[in-house]
Amino acid sequence: MAQEQAGTGGITGTIQRAQQGDRAAFEQLYREHVDRVYALCLRIAANAARAEELTQDVFVRLWEALDSFRGESAFSTWLYRLAVNVVLVALRSQRRRAARVFGTDDLSPFDQVESAPKPGMRLDLEHAIAQLPEKARVILVLHDIEGYRHEEIAEMMGVRAGTSKSQLHRARKLMKEALEK
């Protein structure tokens, strides 16, 4: 199984089989990565139902794009970057469809997670993140949780690195205000 770990870089047997259209192999990739992809979608969308839709979109897109993975980076890095792009594109599209509002702060799936040291504090954090303005929320999630650099965020979002930084500062300020209430 060690050589089958998709997140450790290169093209593993599972990835190769999935690239050749093996759905069982692709399901294995899904099982290995769905929790991480879903968490990302949930934090950015701030809505469980929307996060499920986005997670599905990410894996459908992965199926279409998998052929282009050449093993030049870790598969997990490549996949999560693809996931971020899918989510960002969906958000931009959603923003224009005013009738469809997803930012309703339905974060119940985070209630089930018990791994954090301070569950009460963690849930407060999740709700504070969900209440942030969309752009600030996306940048805070990408920078402070997912670990992307401002230059990478700027490239993904089509903004300048300075904009990413100022939005991050704004997001942290709003977070602190919300948590101090």
Binding site: G21, V34, A39, T55, D67, F110, Q112, R122, H169
Partner: protein, 378 residues
């Protein structure tokens, strides 16, 4: 520096993004300022809490069945490559006529390709002996007219002549020795040039089907809003009473162009054109409905950002055809978005750079197109 000035550096200080000199100044200030020190500690605490948030969360239900139901059939890269080669050979052979379709022997296919080249050469010799400046026309149905004269059987269409069909008539024009055009009912079409290096018609209104077996850029059709340039192909072109046009390519390639605005349209793709504006962005006939609905809004109705986002959202690998054509017609900010979506779908080739694409470097765009064409084959 006072506290007010210092506060704007605190987040960068926490992120270790300050120059050493400025970081040192902040450190010194913190030693004597309780308020700023508390601010820094509060920020560090927040960031530390965010860092330990779980990065994985299970969805409440298994999403796999729905995902699996949405997965399209995959075609592997090698299969695509093989199919592309077969199609290329078929294209060459197709230009020799339907009854010369290749079967299975590679030798036979090679011979057909050689025959094509010979045909073009011999055709060029024969052509100078046909009626100069005129093409043969045949009535297929009803009573088409050349000028005011009703065409019965066969006739000649001279340069400057108009061929017109009514609701009950159709005709076929032999384009010198390089192809044929079938003219549908309610069509008005004019022969502009009948020269070996330039075969040019003007389609004012109606529908025509062209099958051309010449090398690229020998056959042209002007419409009120764009000209179709044959790149070795078969296609249908329609122009309505407003001058708007619609191109559907069934084999090979067509370039649709007006005043420097060009769309490159391969087999299986369509492209609209509008007066004043020119050709829109091409799209595959099997493209998602949302994408094809958004394209005219982007191309012709100032749909801008909103329409573009929809296009990007629904684009598949195959729709990099649309995105590649969009690069040149998007503004700088939009071009970045198009580029990002494209590299997500298909990585850049080694000899193409982001900066080159965003600057619309012609050679780089062509190199990328060469790679993308694998995905554009039906």
């Amino acid at each position: 520096m006072n506290c007010h000035e210092m506060k704007k550096y605190l987040q960068d200080y926490v992120d270790e993004a300050l120059t050493p000199g400025r970081a040192h100044a902040v450190t010194q200030h913190l030693e004597s300022c309780n308020a700023c020190r508390a601010e820094v500690e509060s920020l560090r605490s927040l960031i530390a809490d965010l860092h330990v948030l779980p990065r994985a969360t299970s969805p409440a239900r298994d999403l796999w069945p729905e995902i699996e139901a949405r997965l399209p059939q995959l075609e592997t890269a090698s299969a695509r490559g093989q199919n592309r080669f077969v199609e290329m050979i078929n294209d060459v052979a197709g230009k020799l006529g339907a009854f010369f379709r290749p079967r299975t022997l590679w030798v036979w296919r090679g011979a057909l390709a050689a025959a094509f080249i010979l045909l073009v050469y011999v055709g060029s010799l024969l052509y100078v002996h046909t009626v100069p400046g005129a093409w043969e026309v045949a009535s297929l149905e009803g009573m088409p007219k050349i000028g005011a004269k009703v065409l019965t059987g066969k006739g000649l269409l001279a340069m400057g002549d108009w061929l017109e069909t009514d609701a009950g008539s159709r005709a076929q024009i032999n384009v010198g020795v390089i192809g044929a055009v079938e003219v549908e009912p309610n069509t008005r079409i004019q022969l502009l040039k009948a020269q070996w290096t330039e075969h040019r018609l003007a389609l004012e209104v109606g529908t025509m089907h062209a099958k051309i077996w010449a090398p690229p850029r020998f056959f042209f059709v002007n419409t009120p809003s764009a000209q179709a340039i044959d790149l070795g192909c078969a296609y249908t072109l329609t122009v309505d009473s407003s001058g708007a046009g619609f191109l559907h390519v069934t084999s090979g390639w067509v370039a649709f162009e007006r005043e420097g605005r060009e769309s490159v349209v391969p087999a299986g793709a369509r492209c609209e054109t509008r007066p004043v504006i020119g050709p829109g962005t091409p799209y595959f006939e099997d493209a998602p409905d949302a994408l094809t609905a958004a394209l005219p809004r982007f191309d012709f109705e100032n749909g801008g950002e909103e329409a573009l986002q929809t296009i990007l959202t629904f684009a598949r690998q195959r729709d990099t055809l649309t995105l590649w054509n969009l690069l040149a017609r998007a503004n700088e900010a939009q071009r970045v978005l198009v580029y990002e979506r494209m590299v997500e779908l298909v990585p850049l080739p080694a000899n193409v750079t982001r900066a080159g694409v965003l600057q619309l470097d012609r050679k780089m765009l062509e190199r990328w197109k060469d790679k993308l064409e694998v995905y554009w084959v039906e």
